[in-house]
Symmetry: none
Subunit: 143 residues, 2 copies
């Protein structure tokens, strides 16, 4: 399980270190994809395979399902952790998530999220102010 928030920096070679606690679970190989709200998702290989399998079953004949599967599958990239536990961020994903130097790596149960630091702060303050409303909806979910 991934939990916690860490701040790291991407060097000029697009390398990003993964927090030590997450490395043990990731096992040298992982898949990085487009995420929600302009962040990136990082999945362990097995979690990704489950997701990809579902995406591949979407009907090819319907334009919007086709587009969705394309965005998610084409947006994904298998990454290897080097000896020091770093991964390479592909250009198009770096651009998609508008990464500058500092990024925030956050554990969200079965996946890892990677945010541009500034966007993360903005998202956090926005969410924190609205957290009262969210709590009410959580009640509906039985939490």
């Amino acid at each position: 399980m991934f939990i916690g928030e860490y701040t790291y920096s991407i060097d000029e070679k697009k390398r990003l270190a993964i927090p030590t606690k997450f490395r043990q679970v990731l096992d040298k190989k992982a898949v990085i994809t487009r995420g929600l709200d302009n962040c990136l998702f990082l999945y362990p290989l097995k979690e990704w395979e489950k997701l990809a399998e579902k995406l591949s079953k979407l009907p090819l004949s319907q334009a919007d399902a086709r587009g969705f599967a394309r965005l998610m599958l084409i947006g994904a990239m298998e990454v290897n952790l080097d000896n020091l536990g770093r991964v390479l961020i592909p250009d198009y994903l770096k651009k998609y998530a508008s990464f500058k130097k500092k990024v925030v790596i956050a554990g969200v149960y079965n996946r890892i999220e990677i945010w541009d630091e500034k966007r993360w702060e903005e998202y956090k303050t926005k969410t924190e102010t609205g957290i009262g409303d969210i709590a009410e909806r959580l009640g509906e979910l039985g939490v």
Copy 2:
């Protein structure tokens, strides 16, 4: 599984390099054909055989199904990868997909798509805005 987005260029001899990660799976021979949304599909031989089988079973009575099957079957061509992992793009397919110099090679699970770079960018932005809420769709998939 094919995933990821790569940018390559077609030289003046209509040769196109296939990303290294895809070569291992393709095994020297592949089938290239007309795809949806003005891109090309590239299949491993076995995947193509399965698809061709399905296409041949489409009801002869429906005009659009018949047209789709014709498009893909007649447009298909077997291509060989040379020693450096490049394939030759036939003229009529190059024209169909309106390739200029730069193309995007994209992995979509069991097939590879080849897009003219400009068209891909257009399709991507169009789809990103038109796809609606990605979160909801992921939720439907149980992710």
